[in-house]
C-alpha cells in the first residue's frame, strides 16, 4: 500500500506540486492521470524518494520513505520515466545487477530471474546485449529489473510512452497479472484510454492538486457524463485544456 499525504514541492519559483494526497491499495491498479506538467512525475519521484517533499509524507506499507528510505524501497519496485538499460550488458546481466544491489544472493537471483523470464516471455532474448533489443523487449527487461526483488508495490512513470501497440498490450497483461497476485500498482499517464483500460482507481491531477479521485464509475457519475473523456475535461476545468 502506498499512502501520500498532502505532498508539496516547489522548484525555485515553480510550484510543481501544491497539495496531493491519495492512497493506492493492494490488489488494485491506481492511475495518476493529468495533462503534461500537472505534477505527476514530481509526485511519483517523491513517492520513491529521489525528491524530498517540502511538505507532507509518503508511506510504503506503513514505512516512511524519508525516514527509512532503504527499508521502504525494499518494498518498492520503480520504473522511472527514463528507464534506460546498460547496452553492453545482456538482458540477464541488467536484471542481475539490480537484483544484486537489492541484496539478493546468487542462488535466489537465478530462481527469481527464471520466474520473470517465464512470466514476461523473455526466453528468446534474455542472453542478448540490451543494445540490440526492440522497444517491447526493453520495457520487459526494465520491468523485470524493477520486479527482481518481488516488491509488494510497483510505481511506473508514464510506462507506455513511446511504446508500440504490441509492447503496450504485453505491459497491460503484466500489470493485470501483478494485480491478481495482490500487488499494489501505481502508474502515471496523460493518456485517458490507458487509464480507463486498466485502473480500479483514478487520481486526476492538474496544476499540482488532486482534482478528483475515486473509481472510474464514481468520477463519471460526479461529472454527470457517461464518457470518461468528457468527465476528465470537466474535472480539469475550462482553462486547463487551453494552456
Amino acid at each position: 500500500m502506498i499512502e501520500a499525504e498532502i505532498l508539496a514541492k516547489r522548484f525555485g519559483a515553480v510550484e510543481a506540486v501544491r497539495e496531493v494526497s491519495f492512497t493506492a491499495r493492494d490488489g488494485e491498479i491506481t492511475g495518476l492521470l493529468g495533462p503534461n506538467g500537472a505534477g505527476k512525475s514530481t509526485t511519483l519521484r517523491m513517492v520513491y524518494g529521489v525528491l524530498a517533499p517540502d511538505r507532507g509524507s509518503v508511506r510504503i506499507d506503513g514505512i516512511d520513505i524519508r525516514g527509512e528510505t532503504s527499508r521502504a524501497r525494499a518494498h518498492l519496485g520503480v520504473l522511472p520515466h527514463a528507464s534506460g538499460l546498460y547496452g553492453n550488458l545482456t538482458a540477464r546481466e541488467n536484471i542481475a545487477y539490480f537484483g544484486s544491489l537489492q541484496g539478493i544472493d546468487a542462488k535466489q537471483l537465478r530462481a527469481r530471474t527464471a520466474e520473470l523470464v517465464a512470466s514476461l516471455a523473455m526466453e528468446s532474448f534474455i542472453e542478448r546485449p540490451a543494445k540490440g533489443l526492440s522497444q517491447g523487449q526493453r520495457i520487459k527487461v526494465a520491468l523485470a529489473r524493477a520486479l527482481v526483488h518481488d516488491p509488494a508495490n510497483l510505481v511506473l512513470d508514464e510506462p507506455t510512452n513511446g511504446l508500440d501497440v504490441m509492447a503496450i498490450r504485453s505491459l497491460r497483461e503484466m500489470l493485470k497479472h501483478l494485480k491478481s497476485l495482490g500487488r499494489c500498482i501505481l502508474f502515471s499517464s496523460h493518456v485517458m484510454q490507458e487509464v480507463a483500460a486498466l485502473c480500479d482507481q483514478v487520481v486526476i491531477i492538474g496544476r499540482g492538486r488532486v482534482l478528483a479521485q475515486g473509481s472510474l464509475q464514481s468520477i463519471r457519475e460526479r461529472a454527470g457524463t457517461a464518457s470518461l473523456e468528457e468527465a476528465f475535461l470537466r474535472v480539469l476545468g475550462p482553462t486547463e485544456g487551453c494552456e
Binding site: 519521484r45 520513491y48 524518494g49 529521489v50 525528491l51 524530498a52 528510505t69 532503504s70 527499508r71 524501497r73 525494499a74 518498492l76 520503480v78 520504473l79 522511472p80 520515466h81 527514463a82 528507464s83 534506460g84 538499460l85 546498460y86 547496452g87 553492453n88 550488458l89 546481466e93 545487477y97 539490480f98 544484486s100 544491489l101 537489492q102 541484496g103 546485449p129 526494465a142 529489473r145 524493477a146
Partner: protein, 393 residues
C-alpha cells in the same frame, strides 16, 4: 555497503571491458601514445645528430677570385665550396628558395680594403629559422672568425708587435653535463606521458559512469534502489581506478620495451629504465590514480551530457602538466614542500629515480599522503553532489 560497492565495481568493470571506445582509449591509445612518440622522437634526434656531425660543410661562395687566400683556407678546413657569382639580392633569393643553405659573398671592394689593412667586408646569408642551416652558418661564422684572427696575428707580427697582446683573455669551456643529466633533460617529457596514460585509462569510464549513465536514462532507476549513494560512487571510482592502473602498467611496460630498442648510449646518454625502475614508477604513481579518478568523476558529474563531459575532461588531461611546467620554468629544486603538490611530486620522484639519486622516505610519504588526501576530499565532494536532487537532471 561493501557488497553494493563491489557489485557496482564489477558491473562497471565488465561493462567497459565490452566497450570498444573505452578499450581503445584506456588500454591502447592512452598508454602507448607516450612510449611510441617518445621512441620516435629520440630516434629522430639520434639520426639528426649523427648526420650533422658527419656531413661535410657545404657553402656557396661568390666572388672567390677576389679572395684566393680565403678560398684556400676554407678548402683546407674540409669545406665543400660551390663557386658562383651572385649579387647580394641573388644570394638572398638563393637562400630563401632553399637552393643554397649558406651563401658567402665577397663584395667588389674586398681585395682593395684587405690590401689597405682596412676591415674587409664579407656577407654571410642564411635563414636562422631553419635549425640545420643555422648550425651550418654557426660553423661558417666560426671558420671565418678563425681566418680573421689568423690574419690579424700575422699583421701584428709583421709590425713587430706580439700577437699575444691581441688576446687579453683566453676562454676555455668546460661542459659538466653528464650523460645521465642530458638524458634526464629529454626524459622530463616521459614523466608527463606516464601521468597522461594514468588519466587516459580512466577518462571514458569517468564519463560513462556519470554523464553516460544519466544520458542513457539508467541513472534514476539506479538512484531509486535501496543502496547508499556513497556505495554507488565508491564502486564507480574503484572501477575507474582499476582501468587507470591497467593503463599505467601497460604504459610502463611499453616504455621498458621502447628503451631496449632506442640506442640512447649513442647520444651519450645512459637511462636506466628496466623492470625495476618501472616498478618504482608504478609505486610512485599509484597514489595519483585515485586522485585522477576522483577529479575526472567530479567534473563529469557536473556535466549534462556525454559530449559536454568529454569537452571538460580533455582539459583535465592538461592539469598535471601545469605544476610540471611551472617547476621547469622556475627551475625548482626538489624539496619537501614541493612533495605536497600532486603530479609535480610524482614528476620529481620519477626524475630522481631516473637520475639514480637517493630518495628520502619522507618525500615518498608526503607525495603519497597529499595525493590520497586530495582524492579523499574530492570523493566526499562527489558523494555530496550525488545526494543532491539536481543529480537526476
Amino acid at each position: 555497503m561493501m557488497r553494493a560497492l563491489l557489485t557496482v565495481f564489477r558491473k562497471e568493470f565488465l561493462e567497459n571491458l565490452r566497450d570498444r571506445r573505452t578499450l581503445v582509449s584506456a588500454l591502447l591509445f592512452g598508454p602507448l601514445f607516450g612510449p611510441l612518440l617518445f621512441g620516435a622522437m629520440v630516434s629522430r634526434m639520434l639520426d639528426q645528430s649523427v648526420a650533422e656531425s658527419d656531413e661535410p660543410l657545404q657553402i656557396t661562395l661568390s666572388g672567390a677570385e677576389q679572395a684566393p687566400n680565403l678560398r684556400r683556407y676554407l678548402e683546407s678546413q674540409g669545406v665543400t665550396l660551390a663557386l658562383r657569382s651572385l649579387s647580394e639580392d641573388a644570394g638572398r633569393t638563393a637562400v630563401q628558395s632553399r637552393a643554397a643553405k649558406v651563401v658567402v659573398i665577397v663584395p667588389g671592394d674586398y681585395a682593395s680594403r684587405f690590401a689597405a689593412a682596412m676591415p674587409a667586408p664579407l656577407l654571410l646569408v642564411a635563414d636562422s629559422s631553419d635549425s640545420q642551416a643555422r648550425k651550418s652558418a654557426d660553423r661558417v661564422r666560426q671558420l671565418l672568425a678563425n681566418y680573421g684572427s689568423g690574419i690579424a696575428q700575422l699583421r701584428l707580427k709583421a709590425r713587430g708587435v706580439s700577437p699575444l697582446l691581441a688576446l687579453p683573455v683566453a676562454v676555455n669551456e668546460i661542459d659538466v653535463t653528464t650523460p645521465t643529466g642530458r638524458a634526464v633533460a629529454i626524459l622530463g617529457f616521459m614523466t608527463y606521458f606516464v601521468l597522461f596514460a594514468v588519466l587516459m585509462g580512466g577518462l571514458y569510464l569517468a564519463i560513462d559512469s556519470t554523464a553516460g549513465e544519466r544520458e542513457r536514462g539508467s541513472l534514476e532507476a539506479l538512484l531509486s534502489l535501496p543502496v547508499g549513494r556513497a556505495s554507488i560512487v565508491g564502486g564507480k571510482l574503484l572501477a575507474t581506478c582499476a582501468y587507470m592502473c591497467l593503463s599505467l602498467a601497460i604504459s610502463l611496460a611499453a616504455f621498458v620495451v621502447v628503451f631496449r630498442f632506442v640506442p640512447l648510449e649513442r647520444l651519450g646518454m645512459s637511462a636506466n629504465l628496466g623492470a625495476g625502475t618501472a616498478l618504482k614508477f608504478f609505486a610512485i604513481c599509484l597514489p595519483f590514480v585515485p586522485l585522477g579518478a576522483a577529479l575526472m568523476t567530479l567534473v563529469a558529474s557536473f556535466t549534462r551530457s556525454y559530449r559536454e563531459a568529454q569537452t571538460y575532461l580533455t582539459s583535465v588531461l592538461l592539469v598535471p602538466t601545469l605544476p610540471i611546467a611551472f617547476a621547469s620554468i622556475y627551475s625548482l629544486k626538489t624539496s619537501s614542500s614541493l612533495m605536497l603538490i600532486p603530479s609535480l611530486s610524482q614528476h620529481l620522484l620519477m626524475t630522481s629515480v631516473l637520475k639514480d639519486e637517493p630518495i628520502a622516505p619522507l618525500d615518498v610519504a608526503l607525495s603519497a599522503g597529499s595525493a590520497l588526501g586530495v582524492s579523499l576530499l574530492l570523493t566526499v565532494l562527489i558523494a555530496r553532489h550525488w545526494r543532491r536532487e539536481s543529480m537526476l537532471g
